[in-house]
């Protein structure tokens, strides 16, 4: 049986890792390659890098990071942030990433998903979704809306509809981030995660709100997620990968226990 994946997420700005709390007040943590190696050796099942570099000119720094990470760790990793074209995708994949994640670029131009899927295969294309609870409205029947720019811009798109559409376009996986839960460390948005997971056939990675191993347990069981993204709870040393995995393993959640 397939294991549930535990995926540390590293935000990278101009070649250095940061961890954003609600996308503001980013604190510098360190070298992404060094951190990737630490998590690889600690039993991470996959890694996610988000390039939050503001300017397009500094994108090459990220490609260099991707190349060094690929030489250092031998598990899959994905890269997101600032990917707008099939060429951007190609650069990141050739540098050694397993998957690329598109978020706001796909909201603005959904064809990027189908173009990427036909060029590299659906297994390479992760749709990142930033979602905010807004209550049920005529245009937002699920009560959850797609937002971009770190939650500042509401797009008037229903999150559930977008997930279903993106799967049809060729997304191979969804990384579902709740803007409401992100950075709180109070737990994942379980309703949102279960709703999306039950309505698509592709894996769903839950993101936003992880603070304790119990939160991962909840989202991987009640939330029906296939994988859980974690950041602060491991970056700041509150928990180790082993402690999280033991907690889940003891509660009969199938996770990878040797590495």
């Amino acid at each position: 049986m397939l294991s549930k994946r535990i995926i540390p997420c590293l935000d990278v700005r101009e070649g250095r890792t940061t961890k954003g709390i609600k996308f503001k007040d980013n604190i510098d943590i360190g070298d992404p390659v060094e951190m990737a190696k630490i998590y690889y050796e600690a039993g991470a099942d996959e890694l996610v890098f988000y390039d939050i570099t503001a300017s397009h000119e500094k994108r090459n720094i990220m490609i260099d990071v991707v190349r060094k990470v690929a030489e250092t760790i031998f598990i899959p990793f994905s890269v997101g942030g600032g990917i707008r074209t099939v060429e951007d995708m190609r650069d990141v994949l050739l540098a050694g990433a397993e998957k690329i994640s598109v978020n706001s670029a796909a909201v603005k131009k959904p064809e990027i998903i189908s173009e990427g899927a036909s060029a590299f295969g659906t297994q390479c294309i992760v749709l990142g979704m930033d979602v905010k609870h807004v209550g049920k409205k005529e245009k937002i029947p699920s009560g959850y809306e797609i937002v971009i720019n770190g939650g500042r811009t509401h797009m008037g798109i229903d999150a559930l509809q977008w997930a279903v559409d993106a799967q049809k376009l060729g997304a191979g996986e969804i990384c579902l981030n709740s803007i409401d839960a992100d950075g709180t460390q109070d737990g994942y948005e379980l309703n949102l995660t279960a709703m999306i997971s039950e309505n698509v056939d592709i894996p769903v990675i839950a993101s936003g709100g992880a603070g304790k191993p119990e939160h991962l347990y909840d989202v991987l069981t009640k939330g029906k997620a296939d994988a859980a993204l974690i950041a602060s709870m491991v970056h700041y040393g509150y928990y180790t990968m082993s402690a999280i995995k033991s907690y889940l393993d003891e509660r009969k959640v199938k996770v990878r226990t040797t590495w």
Binding site: S3, Y40, F74, E98, G121, D201, P203, A227, W259
Partner: protein, 209 residues
Amino acid sequence: MIAIIDYKAGNLTSVARALSHIGYECVVTSDPEKIEKSERIVFPGVGAAGSAMNSLKEMKIDKIILNAFSQGKPILGICLGTQVIMGYSEENDTDCVGIIPGEVKAFPERMESEDNRFLKIPHMGWNSIDIKTKHPVLTGLNRTDEFYFVHGYYPKPQNNDNIFASTEYGITFASVMGMKNLIATQFHPEKSGRPGLTILKNFCEWKPC
């Protein structure tokens, strides 16, 4: 020198990086001369069987692989490389290289998991293998070790003797197969951390009799 065969089926640098990391010289190539001179062959690949077989035939690499196999050269198939060495693939209705008799089949739709949900296809992520046949390439592993898979089709050899390890995902399928100087994994050893690198290292040291 190890030749990693490039037949335009996906990005092969990850295999090269993994081999370099564990200290083996390798070259990513489609040059028949270089492949013939190599000591061993890694035959990777991601993508669809149809286009992979087309480019294999176009580049005449199917013949080179068959030759290398009959000469007794150690060959490691990975993922799609593992599937196209079978006789036939349901994917794009494709006749394949045909070293291991059998076929490649699509996972059945609507397979149910233990919690009564439908299993997602492709089978993507970490899963364990149940080793059936002792083999030098499969030594040094823990029983609980898991490997990274990404595939919507699975190999089904005609003879059980060719199944070295199997994996459960709705059904039980052959996750490692072999025949003489050939061993082939459905998973990606180059993306499977320490146990994957162990398999690659074992392969690089393997002397088939």
